[in-house]
């Protein structure tokens, strides 16, 4: 009975803590959160952050027992919320808010379970219903981390890594977001735009060369002579005859799309593309180029 009362009290404290996170009260596991937006998808982890308080090891002890279904946090279960569909380690995760659980094992991979019932106390473990997303996760060794920490140590244009760390365990979760733009373009769709577009710049001739990369199935372009900043950009179609540039890193991956800062607008006469305008985000015409045969 006393245990029940104590548990209820803890639950109430946890509720208070979640409801009033700024209230002045020292907690063994202070509340924290971390968010990251990648290409318009926002991922948020909210959790209570236990400290080691001199306990080492933590895993395989009363703190976290081997084989336990454990929320990587404290008090109320850690939650993960994603504003759009994502993939975690290649496994689809529909947009929504989930409580986060690990099945911790002494050897081999752990299991990550995401339960759509987000608001759970840490002792209210998820059952085996079909709505729970499950996936195996790799556990690495790492330097000692005193305070349980979720972070985003790596960001890419199309995703990144969400990472759990505590004690000497590190669990990296590779996530992928749904791209907001389609970079590839069929060769037939690109063909009408390909060619050399010439304009004058400070009284001198300049050109913009639009080509097609068969391997990447992408329309690309570059200035002539080549601009060392832009190099060769992806021409990403955002509407009929309208494109924005995607800049490539050294690995050939797009790391930034200049939208709305730059808009290439192809002009037609009699249905044929004859010219190209470059406008900025204030709709100012930067140059008007004429297509050469």
């Amino acid at each position: 009975m006393r245990a029940r009362v104590a548990l209820a009290a803890l639950g109430a404290l946890g509720t208070l803590a979640l409801a009033r996170p700024s209230s002045a009260q020292i907690r063994a596991s202070e509340i924290g959160s971390v968010s990251q937006i990648v290409d318009g998808t926002k991922i948020t982890v909210e959790y209570s952050r236990p400290r080691s308080r001199g306990r080492d090891p933590l895993f395989g002890t009363r703190a976290v027992e081997w084989g336990e279904v454990w929320t990587p946090g404290a008090n109320y279960a850690t939650t993960l919320e994603t504003s759009k569909n994502v993939k975690l380690n290649g496994v689809p995760v529909p947009k929504g808010k989930y409580s986060v659980w690990f099945v911790v094992r002494q050897r081999g991979a752990w299991t990550l379970a995401l339960d759509p019932k987000a608001h759970r106390y840490h002792e209210d473990k998820p059952d085996t219903n079909a709505a729970v997303v499950r996936l195996p996760v790799r556990v690495d060794s790492a330097a000692f981390t005193d305070v349980l920490t979720w972070s985003f140590p790596e960001i890419r244009a199309d995703g990144g890594t969400l990472e759990f760390r505590w004690e000497r365990r590190r669990v990296p979760l590779r996530f992928e977001v749904e791209p907001s733009l389609t970079v590839t373009l069929a060769a037939d769709d690109a063909r009408p735009y390909l060619g050399r577009y010439e304009y004058r710049e400070d009284g001198r001739p300049a050109a913009f060369l639009v080509t097609y990369d068969d391997t990447a199935r992408t329309m690309k372009a570059e200035w002539v002579p080549n601009d060392p900043y832009f190099k060769r950009v992806a021409m990403i179609r955002v509407a009929p005859d309208r494109f924005v540039p995607g800049l490539y890193d050294r690995d050939g991956k797009i790391y930034e799309v200049y939208r709305p800062e730059m808009l290439f607008e192809f002009k037609r006469e009699g249905g044929r593309v004859t010219a190209l305008d470059l406008r900025d985000d204030a709709d100012s015409l930067q140059w008007h180029a004429t297509r050469r045969p």
Partner: protein
């Protein structure tokens, strides 16, 4: 300096401003699902669009507001993509140029209006203008 090089550097600075603006205004812009473009309200006028007297001595800003005031029936049919659509009193991009006028400081509001005004002068339809605005700012 090549023109496009100027563009890149200038835009880097301007992008910072946009990012700052985004930080102030629109987490929503990046995250919210696009809402449909509004239907222009019958009889809508530009009477509430801020005037030169209200805007102060900024010729470029005044020009944008004047352009919007001249075609309220078009601007009222365009969704603002800056993230302000959930603010009280919002109906369309036209709302951004009235009252507190977010467009005074928002480069997204201004850019969309400039595209709309130019394309309207070129004889483009409201549907064409919506496509162009969304292509760049959506």
């Amino acid at each position: 300096m090549p023109h496009h090089a100027q563009l890149s550097r200038r835009h880097f600075v301007r992008s910072c401003a946009v990012v700052l603006g985004a930080a102030l205004v629109p987490t929503r812009r990046a995250l919210a699902s696009p809402i449909p473009h509004p239907t222009p309200r019958p009889g809508i006028t530009g009477a509430k669009v801020l005037t030169r007297e209200q805007l102060g001595d900024d010729p470029k800003l005044v020009a944008v507001f004047d352009g919007v005031r001249a075609i309220p029936q078009v601007i009222d049919g365009i969704r603002c993509n800056c993230g302000c659509a959930s603010t009280p009193g919002y109906y369309s991009l036209l709302s951004c140029f009235e009252g507190d006028a977010m467009a005074r400081t928002c480069p997204i509001c201004q850019g969309q209006a400039k595209v709309a005004v130019r394309l309207h002068k070129e004889g483009k339809s409201l549907d064409d203008i919506r496509v162009a605005v969304d292509a760049q700012f959506g």
